[in-house]
Symmetry: C2
Subunit: 143 residues, 2 copies
DNA sequence: ATAGTCCTTGAAGGGAGGTTGAGGTTCAGA
DNA sequence: TCTGAACCTCAACCTCCCTTCAAGGACTAT
């Protein structure tokens, strides 16, 4: 059996069958039908679904994911160039996400390090009570 | 003017006023009211909002963000221990997100490197046409 | 004091990403 | 051949995260 039923695909991918149908309705994955109109998926679809779930978890929308997957030819056998193009585009997108996370982390580290948000150490390093009482300006940690 | 109107806060944070009210209704931020019942925010709220937006962009829910922000005492002047606790919790959460992104990136790199998903190089390294035709198993790149 | 802008609440609407259920069909094993 | 599990479609519904309105009140500059 080299084709998967929707139930098997869903189970192996760790998602509900309704989600699989939903992804298919959005064109993120494709299937062929049996004579009795049931969906059958290629093994490679499992990889696509894993890709979709992981991408979602890092904050990417299905539309964005679909656009990326859409650059892979559905007419089978993507070329090395196809993959390189997808990979390059995503690498920068993923680096961007990592940068965002680091910004978030820096925000926390900044708070701990400098004691902004009225930590005692901040009041110490800035003896004027007024500033400590209302917190430092947003510039240090702004968007 | 050391307090912000909702309009100013929204503008400086780069979000809509409706979003600010929404965050407040969820307890993510707080305000005081003027005699005429208008909201006024502390400068530090700007930082909270920036934090919220960034955290959202990396795939965290408002609930999760609110839980983290909730560990900071609203009764002002969080201690160093408060911040350290929040930071520790988030650091692992953020490291987890980075790990997810790297997993995604590895998936792409893997595809390029080994040519799974029926790249020609994959067919070459695995001369049996059958495997190349249906793609390799999901194990290589599974969840 | 008055115009113009900003603010208030509450309810309804909307898009993303699904889930659930009804009513019916197909598949696989005994 | 029959039966039970799995599948089908379609529509309604759900949560999250807001946005948009309506009807009215507050602030500020002149």
């Amino acid at each position: 059996m080299n084709q998967l039923t929707i139930g098997h695909l869903a189970e192996r991918a760790g998602v509900a069958t309704s989600a699989i149908r939903f992804y298919e309705s959005k064109g993120l994955i494709t299937s062929v039908r049996t004579v009795g109109n049931q969906r059958r998926y290629e093994q490679s679809t499992l990889r696509r679904v894993a890709f979709i779930r992981t991408a979602q978890q890092v904050g990417l929308s299905l539309e964005e994911i679909g656009a990326a997957l859409g650059t892979l030819p559905d007419g089978r056998t993507p070329t090395r160039a196809d993959w390189q193009r997808l990979s390059r585009a995503w690498r920068s997108r993923l680096d961007e996400q990592i940068a965002r996370i680091e910004a978030l982390r820096d925000r926390l580290d900044g708070c701990i390090g400098c004691g902004c948000l009225s930590l005692k150490t901040c009041a110490l390093s800035n003896p004027g009570d007024a500033v400590a009482a209302q917190g430092s300006g947003p510039v240090l940690l702004g968007p």
